[in-house]
């Protein structure tokens, strides 16, 4: 269905892939084109700021890899120094320029060969470093990769949104909702008169909420919290995303959340119980997420006063609310 946004996106991505492939084939079959494009690309490098090309924080590992490969390809293309000077079209000029070029080549060839050898080594080294980083990232993202084979964590429902708003009703400062999805919790907080914003690492997840005018941003949760000054939030809500992350990342997130909240602030953890996982989900997501009881334990160990409350009518059946001491 063309009016279906996902279908349209898939269609345009397929066309773009065909264009990239055709462009690649044309470069391979026409060396003159490669030289011309090199010149034009250099002009682009001057006029197109690199920052304009950076993709969103929510880029998948595959997108990051493709971007790195593209950059390495550009470095490779631009690393070759040529001592060939252009030759004129008219006969006399052509002969003169040809002589100049021959002399230039003779004089500069030795130098250019050395620089090219160095560049070649450098590009090789970058590629090797890229492969090593990719292997490390592969290990680090194992849970995330396996997580792609199970359904995404469901968005917060209205019951959960209202329960979180109740827990934070005393907040007199801003609240950050980590992994906000379409923004139901943010919406409930705003309706309760609390200044709130949400952050999520998925563009698609937040699109509906952004269209509604909610203050939702795309960013990696830890990176987002790291930008917030000490003690400037009244509350932090941790939900959805944290159900698919490993203990080290969750520990970092707790530290960041505790740093961001005021002494009278609160951290609310709204996650489903791990024992509710079954079948492939239980197996593929092994080693990720923490049960509400473990969250409560961790927060107590960090010196918080913790309250665990039951919730009915929602996928999340237990809320953990912590107040730093």
């Amino acid at each position: 269905m063309l009016n279906d946004a996902t279908g349209a996106r898939e269609y345009v991505n397929r066309i773009q892939a065909e264009i990239t492939e055709e462009a690649h084939q044309r470069r391979e079959s026409n060396p003159t084109l490669a030289i011309q494009e090199r010149e034009i690309n250099q002009a682009w490098t001057r006029s197109a700021p690199s920052a304009a090309a950076v993709r969103g924080d929510g880029a998948s590992p595959a997108e990051v890899k493709a971007h790195s490969e593209h950059l390495l390809g550009c470095i490779d293309d631009l690393s070759l120094l040529s001592v060939d000077a252009p030759v004129g079209k008219r006969k006399g000029v052509r002969q003169l320029k040809g002589t100049v070029r021959a002399l230039t080549r003779w004089y500069l060839r030795y130098l250019a060969d050395q620089v090219n050898a160095f560049n070649h080594f450098l590009v090789g080294f970058l590629r090797s470093a890229e492969q090593r980083i990719a292997r490390l990232e592969g290990d680090a993202h194992a849970a995330e990769i396996m997580g792609e084979f199970v359904d995404p964590v469901l968005d917060a429902d209205h019951v959960l949104g209202q329960a979180v708003a109740d827990q934070l009703s005393q907040c007199d400062g801003p609240v950050a909702v980590v992994s906000c999805g379409s923004g139901r919790i943010v919406s409930a907080l705003v309706q309760a008169g609390i200044t709130a914003h949400g952050v999520d690492d998925s563009v698609d997840a937040i699109n509906d909420g952004v269209n509604e005018g909610l203050d939702l941003r795309v960013a990696a949760p830890s990176e987002h919290l790291s930008r917030i000054a000490d003690g400037s939030l009244s509350g932090v809500v941790l939900t959805r995303f944290v159900e698919r992350r490993g203990p080290v990342e969750l520990s970092t997130l707790i530290d960041e959340a505790l740093r961001c909240v005021t002494p009278s602030g609160r951290i609310v953890v709204a996650v489903a119980d791990l024992s509710a996982r079954s079948g492939p989900e239980a197996e593929l997501l092994r080693g990720t997420g923490l049960s509400p009881q473990t969250w409560a334990h961790l927060l107590r160990k960090r010196g918080c006063v913790v309250e665990v409350s039951a919730l009915t009518g929602s996928r999340v059946t237990t809320l953990v609310t912590a107040q730093p001491q």
């Binding site: 345009v12 264009i19 462009a23 197109a48 090309a53």
Partner: protein, 391 residues
């Protein structure tokens, strides 16, 4: 006193510029919806010198009260050259040099600033970030402020003088998600400032779009053509577009590039390129609807109204893949293609010119995207959410 007061360097139906068009578009629509809206601006039509063009004083334009003030001095013709050194390493500029740059950038008007300081009700809405009225105006504001920054990844954004501006406004309305990311990266402390990715309202014109008449008027015959819309500026990629287009045309043997908009930086004459200058809205939409595609080669856009207007007119787009916001529109909507180098440009253009089915599919997807996300009710809902948070 108004519910909302826009502060812009220039304002008027014949002022060309994305942020200025955005301000006018919001102001007139909010006014039509019953809000009390006013505008404080300079008398200038062009930013080259900020020379007084419009009459001084207050007029009612499309329901909006517009007050224009004379500038204290004109912008020096050597301004661009004189700030070249400063903008090579803007992050290293001293505050004094950066403030001097703002004052020279203009439009500098003490009367305008006094009017800003007198606003004691509603919200002050500044746009764009880079000019004197916003940077100085925010410091004298007495009511909550919104910044429509229209920020691009350009050197001036890195000048230290803008930290105070972004950190002191009450709320920020971004044109796109990528603009929001750029601002959060450059000004991390805005992380707690209420903000919204609002976009701008884009709606079909209230006249019938006539592509046949546009083709006839500009003598385009039956040849396939693509259109560029906007100011002809080197920094907007127009010159690269002309080079790319000519190289492509030489190989394929047909096609025209029609350039619509005021020429700031002259482009060399060539056989396949037709410059029609500024035209009426009727002709503009007619040309866009008649074109096989609209091309936006700019690497620096924060929203790009023309891309969305092209989709409304039923025309697919081809954009510079290095420009985050325009590429994001294409990726999100499935309504356009993008290129990152010359060969991709040539392959994409050939496909667009030769494949009717592709053009129709892209245009249809783009149209759905605009009507769903950028209708006036959708944009107003987002804006009002922000206003209610900061008021």
């Amino acid at each position: 006193m108004s519910d909302i007061t826009f502060v812009a360097p220039r304002y008027g139906a014949d002022v060309v510029g994305g942020a200025e068009l955005g301000a006018r578009s919001l102001a007139t629509r909010l006014s039509a919806d019953g809000m009390d809206v006013s505008v404080l601006t300079s008398r200038a039509r062009s930013f080259d010198t900020w020379a007084d063009d419009y009459p001084e004083g207050t007029t009612i334009e499309e329901g909006v009260s517009v007050s224009r003030f004379s500038v204290d001095y004109l912008r020096s013709p050597n301004f661009a050259a004189s700030c070249d050194r400063l903008l090579r390493h803007p992050e290293k500029a001293s505050m004094q040099d950066a403030w001097q740059w703002i004052d020279e950038q203009g439009p500098t008007s003490n009367d305008l600033l006094e009017a800003v300081a007198e606003v004691d009700r509603g919200v002050l809405s500044f746009t764009p970030y880079m000019y004197h009225p916003a940077v100085r105006g925010v410091t004298v504001a007495r009511v909550p402020t919104v910044l429509h920054a229209a920020a691009h990844p350009e050197p001036p954004l890195r000048l230290p003088v803008f930290d105070d501006l972004f950190n002191s406004v009450s709320g920020i309305a971004h044109y796109s998600r990528l603009e929001q990311r750029l601002v959060l990266d450059r000004f991390p402390s805005t992380v707690l400032t209420p903000q919204v990715v609002m976009g701008l309202p884009v709606e079909a014109p209230d006249f019938e779009i006539d592509p046949v008449r546009a083709r006839q008027t500009f003598g385009l015959g039956d040849e396939p053509f693509v259109v560029f819309l906007g100011r002809v500026l080197r920094s907007k990629g127009t010159h690269e577009l002309v080079d790319f287009f000519n190289a492509t045309r030489e190989r394929r043997g047909n096609g025209k590039l029609v350039i619509v908009g005021p020429v700031v930086d002259e482009i060399p004459k060539s056989k396949g390129v037709v410059c029609v200058g500024s035209v009426s809205d009727e002709h503009k939409f007619g040309l866009v609807a008649a074109a096989d595609a609209l091309i936006n080669p700019s690497p620096l856009e924060s929203f790009s109204l023309v891309v969305l207007e092209a989709w409304l007119a039923g025309t697919p787009v081809l954009v510079n893949g290095w420009c985050g916001p325009t590429r994001d529109h294409c990726e999100q909507s499935g309504g356009g293609l993008w290129y990152s180098n010359f060969v991709e440009f040539e392959v994409s253009l050939n496909r667009l010119l030769d494949d009717v089915d592709l053009r129709d599919r892209l245009a249809q997807a783009g149209h759905a995207y605009v009507t769903e996300s950028f209708s006036w009710p959708a944009v107003r809902r987002r804006y009002q959410r922000l206003l209610s948070q900061i008021s």
